[in-house]
Subunit: 629 residues, 2 copies
């Protein structure tokens, strides 16, 4: 479907949306009570902070790693988002200390990367494929967040100096060994920096990086990687299929969307929209996961979505949500919020344990302890990539854990946007929002148990004569909207219900989304799951775990006409909604092959939200079940 | 089922069984008309023969490879089997030339390996895991075959000198760096050498290698491999599960079975029988393929049988047949011939094209051209193992092509065995046989279109008062046996029908096996194929190929009650039997996921024997189909 473009969309940042209750209040509390400190400890133990002292010399421990600063940056950014709600001396002391270290190792010319400062100074700005400018981008995002939260601008000044150097070296002098960064991220960060400082050269540099991509002979990759791996195979406006490393790709597309919105650039928007459709219509797991292979952490080809070896990196789903949120600002089409919700409620949340202190990098759709055990016992050099069965406290490349932190702390970003005098509600969450429109600021309270319940109630605390558009998720078989307890007229367009009257103080809008349990088949071209179906309720995809089901989860047969029972369950002190119902599995037999039909037995299949799996030790997990005819 | 042991079994070698018509006459003609020369050319082109001149020096081409002699040996062996039927000056000239080269580079002390002679002389007998004694074993088999075929014993003398050296170094002096070979094969070759020469020390050395295995601290592996990889993790009598490199394992088990038979060694037989059952009841593809991963070309664990990444090496299935044939000499149990037939008629034959000049090393059960194309385009260093879609003319490690040659040329080995005054018929093939019994030599003609037809007719041309036992395959739903056109009494025991009367000259025995098309399910524990079934008729497993079916082969749904039609088909001038019948596939849809049932359409599914796949270019191939409830 061709999308309506308006370009008039304005984000409503999470700082204007306070989460006071419901699903996300619990998640944010978890981040603030547990995750922030857990990550800090891990990064400390692994020498990430120590490394910033720049004291490393050949033979000494804590050798700085090329992407360590990006891990630290995302932790600072996440903490800063928390500080925007409530300051915290202890946390600020930690950040100020880190900022002082950065100030100390920042070079005269403004260069800032600890690895290229103490390990390979001669290699500065020579490795296109590497994480050098990616780190810069995350540090810029962190500096902006910390400045907003505390008014302390030392970090911001450091990063502006570095950004100025990058601008000179890349855009003005072309004195670097390559022209555009092989690991994208800085593009969207520079746009943020421009929006925060108003300094035009950062916008120019972002535009330069995006317009130059795919046109430079100097942008070379490691010999193991292809140009597609880093999205340098074509000019961005000629990229119609999502290729290569998923996180790199989605950060690029997000930056492209920022500029398409800002410059009302139709060709850039069209490229983004084609890429978005290619991803969501051909290359996305039902859980909103991206990346069909660990080789290059990459997209492969249309309809190639293996379950066991799915990569579906946590960061990639976060990035998909970031991309989708930018797209709905340009064009309020429900498909963007639909994809964002799949990514958020399934793969992104699967990235962190219910206890908040351990993390998944990859999020497979099937996990088999036997294969894992086998994998662990493989001879060295013959290792096979197979899904991780348990979350880890930290990774060598620990991009996902702090990404989840900053993402959940800023989840309010996904609630609303505005355009002219219209308020758009995209992803529903219990919140109080202050929404700036063209001629007024509107205050709206939202109460809901979403995603576990389809009832969402908005009350207008302050505002007059504004329009209201509500996202109607693609999964909603039916819905109704009441204003002040009476049915109201609305116009349904591109997945949004536009209420046919103006609203103001005292109005109460009630949206009821029919949240059925859906039996979902994949396109037959997805050869890995032919004959199988997944169960979904609202944006939540369910999975079965061995902990709740003492039978072979791959052999489970479900029926379309099953009336699934919804039940409340608690795992690791987290309340969640599961479903259960009758299913069939075959009985055990002796022997390997049977020409006789193998007997079936009825079992009760218990399912939990996919994002809650692997919180009870190693056990089998499955999302796609055999579908009885 | 516990097997009855008798230890009295005697092989009836292929030299006593002439194949004059039917399925195997065609295959042997193909080998003799095409394969023998095709392999010779490839080996010549790739410098394998040139290397034997020993002229290689650092920097020069045709550097000898550690296992090249085994490739040459298997070619000589295969050619020698042909020469046993009819001499051929040209071929003998080629072999005599090669033997002269070997004589020239054989060391004073009898050592014979071109790689360790010209490339790494210092490394002789130091690398347990390597192919040094494996090459020796194949050369010994070849020398025996050539001596039998031509009476020219130069090659045999060369190999006896080498075997004497190996005996001294390993069994007497223990002066090698290891105690038992990491790549088995020499054990069964030494037993053959003992049987051919009557020289006891070769038997002693074979027993030494087998009894010492798993007990020596000096038997170490490359650091990438485990002791399981080369079956050195335990003494052979304590190995109850098939582990590690499949071909190494099955050549070892074959050697163990030789000695169990010869020495009437119950503990050795029991180990063999347990290993056989572990393989066939838990680790064997329905095609008789062995090896669930390319990592180590190895077994993995019970019920782990992935289709797309199956290794199922041609050599491993040949080795399974060799092992099974030895086992039925010890204990006439139908399970051995059943497994042998699966291996022979499916994976082993899939190893060679119908044109006889190209070969598969691996034999996957599902092949997807998209995955292959994607694989080929992967960045270097990020290669994924995925099935080969087309056969190759030769491989760097080209063990399979000459193995198929010697195997098909000696297929007569599988027809009969004898015990006392009983003739056992195991695998049926159109043939004339001269079978030595305790007190007479029996001549039996066998006429059949097996494996495409279940009718087998035996006529006794010469013999009196002997007993006859016929293998009744596990797939036969029913069968009848007539002697001279009238029903006869028989006793069914362990998969063999023992005719209750003595037979003699002029008797005609007709066996009719009910050859139904079977819909076969795998044990539910085989998670990779839950919900799927394969189609089988007699020993032939069917597959569908894109060339005959213009729809998604993974989405095909078959029914148990389908009345499949049998049809004759010709591919590459080879007549074969296919089957066809109605099936269902889902229609194409837009979008990636659908909560609505996806419409089905009826299609005609056309299947051909698995072994005949990939003879019509790159296309999709599938064995396991969705099974409608």
């Amino acid at each position: 479907m061709k999308s309506m473009k308006q370009y008039g969309g304005c984000p409503v940042g999470f700082e204007k949306v306070s989460i006071n209750g419901g699903f996300w209040a619990e998640k944010q509390k978890l981040m603030e009570d547990i995750t922030i400190d857990a990550l800090y400890k891990r990064f400390e133990e692994t020498g990430r902070f120590e490394a910033l002292k720049g004291e490393w010399r050949e033979g000494k421990p804590n050798k700085p790693h090329i992407f360590w600063e990006s891990d630290i940056a995302k932790w600072i950014e996440g903490v800063a988002y928390k500080l925007q709600k409530s300051r915290d001396k202890e946390l600020e002391k930690k950040i100020d200390y880190l900022v002082d270290l950065m100030e100390a190792y920042q070079s005269e010319d403004g260069y800032l990367n600890i690895y290229f400062t103490v390990v390979e100074p001669e290699a500065r700005f020579t490795r296109c494929t590497d994480h050098e400018l990616y780190c810069a981008g995350h540090l810029i995002e962190a500096a902006i967040a910390y400045d907003k939260a505390t008014g302390k601008d030392k970090f911001l000044k450091i990063m502006k100096r570095y950004a100025d150097l990058i601008d000179r070296v890349f855009r003005i002098e072309h004195s670097a060994a390559f022209d555009t960064p092989g690991h994208e991220e800085i593009e969207l960060a520079l746009y943020k920096l421009y929006m925060h400082t108003g300094e035009n050269r950062y916008l120019q540099l972002a535009m330069y990086f995006i317009d130059t991509r795919g046109t430079s002979k100097r942008d070379k990759t490691y010999d193991f990687a292809s140009l597609e791996y880093m999205q340098s195979h074509l000019p961005v406006r000629e990229q119609f299929t999502a290729e290569g490393h998923c996180v790199r790709a989605l950060y690029l597309y997000s930056g492209m969307a920022d500029l398409a919105l800002h410059n009302k650039n139709e060709s850039l928007y069209n490229a983004c929209d084609k890429l978005f459709d290619n991803i969501t219509q051909k290359r996305m797991y039902i859980t909103g996961g991206l990346g069909s292979t660990y080789r290059g952490e990459a997209f492969t080809y249309d309809y190639d979505l293996p379950e066991l070896t799915a990569y579906a990196e946590t960061c990639a789903s976060i990035a998909l949500a970031l991309f989708a949120r930018r797209m709905w600002l340009i064009s309020p089409n429900g498909k963007y919020a639909d994809a964002a919700e799949l990514a958020i409620y399934n793969t992104a949340l699967s990235g962190v344990s219910l206890t908040g202190d351990s993390f998944f990098y990859e999020n497979p759709l099937y996990a088999d302890p036997k294969k894992k055990a086998f994998n662990d016992s493989r001879p060295r050099g013959l290792m096979q990539h197979l899904p991780i069965m348990e979350r880890a406290k930290v990774f060598d490349c620990s991009c996902c854990p702090p990404n989840i932190l900053r993402f959940i702390e800023s989840i309010g970003d996904f609630a609303y946007s505005s355009s002219g005098d219209t308020v758009f509600a995209h992803c529903y969450m219990d919140s109080k929002a202050e929404i700036p429109l063209e001629h007024q600021i509107v205050n709206i309270e939202q109460h809901t148990q979403y995603p576990y319940d389809g009832k969402i109630v908005f009350s207008v605390k302050d505002g007059c004569g504004f329009s209201f558009a509500l996202h109607i998720p693609e999964w909603a078989r039916s819905f109704d909207i009441k204003v002040n307890d009476s049915e109201c007229q609305f116009t349904l367009k591109d997945g949004y219900a536009y209420i046919d009257r103006l609203l103001g103080t005292g109005d109460m809008i009630e949206l009821n989304l029919d949240m059925q349990i859906e039996t979902v088949e994949a396109n037959p071209e997805v050869r890995d799951i032919c004959g199988r179906a997944a169960l979904k309720r609202g944006p939540i995809v369910f999975c079965a775990e061995g902990a709740d089901n003492r039978f072979n989860l791959r052999d489970v047969r479900i029926r379309r006409d099953t009336r699934w029972q919804i039940y409340e369950k608690e795992i690791a002190n987290t309340r969640l909604i599961g479903i259960s119902g009758p299913a069939e599995v075959r009985r055990r037999i002796d022997g390997l092959y049977s020409a006789e039909p193998i007997e079936r037995q009825e079992v009760t299949l218990n399912l939990i939200p996919y994002h809650a799996w692997a919180n009870r030790g190693v056990n089998e997990m499955n999302v796609w079940f055999l579908l009885k005819d």
